[in-house]
Amino acid sequence: MGFSVEKAGLLTTVQDLGRYGYQKQGMVVSGAMDAFALRVANLLVGNAQNAAALEITLVGPRLLFQQDTLLAVTGADLSPRLDAKPLPMNQPVFVRAGTRLEFGRAVQGCRAYLALGGGVDVPPVMGSAATYLRAAVGGWHGRALQKDDQVPLKGLKPEQLKAWQERLPAPEPFLAAPWGVFPASLPPYAGNPTVRVVPGPEYGLFSSEAQEAFWQSPFQVAPASDRMGYRIAGPALTLKEPVEVLSSAVTFGTVQILANGNPIILMADRQTTGGYPRLGQVISADLPLLAQAKPGATIRFQQVSLAQAQELYYQQERTLAQLASALHLHLKR
């Protein structure tokens, strides 16, 4: 039961919202790169926002469902199809056992999220289902999905399953719910995003030219960018004078500047501490935009205050809270 993997895709991993509480042991947090998209996908199928779902990177897998299930795809548009018919994104879709889900061209973004009714059934490790590939911890045996994997699902509650089965007319392989997320509720995904940044603890150690260049120049996402961090290419950002920075905590969105003046933006699989000066901190609300930027994308940075970052954080939480109550009403029917 669950689904079988007929084609693995580039990098398909089980993720939730991350593994917290173990960073003082050096354990990396991991979790979804685009946490907003994962939370929305889970809400759409009636799961807890933190349920285990699939993060699908650029080239998607082909999956064959062996049980009837409710699913939702959010985040990047990787041309998802169900039995060769386009799958509507950002809304719940009920599929019959025997249906195939596959992906095609990457139209927009980098990472799609597939939530499934009840969630993917994997044992939690240190309280989380997130996959941390480098240490082979969590998720599906600590690794990305491979061809011929048989992945179990927790499944819908019996009464929910029955209600959906009654709604799905006999020959059809799937049924999309007539409701979903309004596009206006989604982050303003863009091929070349502008992301907002609060100056970091070591901002003042950089030369005024470097500070100016950071806010004014475009930076390009380098090919050597992954779940751990994005290397971005642009003008070299230099310190006023050389300083030794003692290792201290870094987090999702921390902009570190290496000795050669090149920035790295730390992402979901970041290390817990770092010894490079922290020029800035990408605000939480804009991390989804970064998560969806592909190698080669151009990124610009816009300075905001801590108060603005907090306000934008609240806005995103309010959007999710409204979505949660609206979807709850729909799913109850």
């Binding site: 917290y20 509480g21 173990y22 960073q23 003082k24 042991q25 050096g26 354990m27 990396v28 490790v125 240190m126 480098r134 240490a135 911890v137 969590g138 609060v198 970091g200 603890p201 003692l246 290792s247 201290s248 905590a249 987090t251 969105g253 921390t254 290390q271 817990t272 501490t273 922290r278 901190q281 990408v282 605000i283 939480s284 801590l306 108060a307 970052a309 907090q310 306000e311 954080y313 609240y314 939480e317 309010r318």
Partner: protein, 239 residues
Amino acid sequence: MSSVKLYPLGETAVVLQLGEEMAVETHQYVKAVARFLDQNPFPGLVEYVPAFTTVTVYYDPWLLSNRGQQDPYAVVEGHLTHLLAQLETGLEAEKPPVKKIPVVYGGEFGPDLEEVAQQAGLSPEEVITRHTRPEYLVYLIGFAPGFPYLGGLDPSLATPRKQVPRSVVPAGSVGIAGTQTGVYPLETPGGWQIIGRTPLVLFDPERELPSLLQMGDLVRFVPVSEKEYLKRKKQAHGF
């Protein structure tokens, strides 16, 4: 303490800066704050990350702002200031037990022992003697799961990193990089000078405390034979 500084790391964390330099006194302060947070967690505290001079406290801004009604940074700042005030008199400095780490030095387990010896102008045996003599202090666990930042390396053993990093360094490898010594918990690429290997598993997700070493521990390396290494390897895991 007057030297303490608080500043934000984005909108989800506050950094407590408890000193400016790597020092045992600062470390004890960091440890005391960590212990206090363990015993007195406040609602909205996600977790904390201790380092050489800082304790970074992660919090939930949505919860602590009462869903956008008040400044969560100010709330956390208030909590932590209160905490520090209570701590001022409570600094204790009991000596933790010394954890022994068996290491087989040189040969295939420590391919860079000769190079370290040459650079230091010492015999390989003398390098082993000087590496096993000190009690090292675990300042923090960071960089990688279970990786200890150790203080106390004999300065005569300081050796620059390798010009070309190895693509694979086996788990348990004991190395030197500059004035640092440490143990690789996982197989990773790395540029440290590898002088030996321990059979102990430094990080095990199945253990209640996955990291074998904790911030504040004292560590001593103990030389063992290859036979002893293989025997310990079979028994595996903790001390």
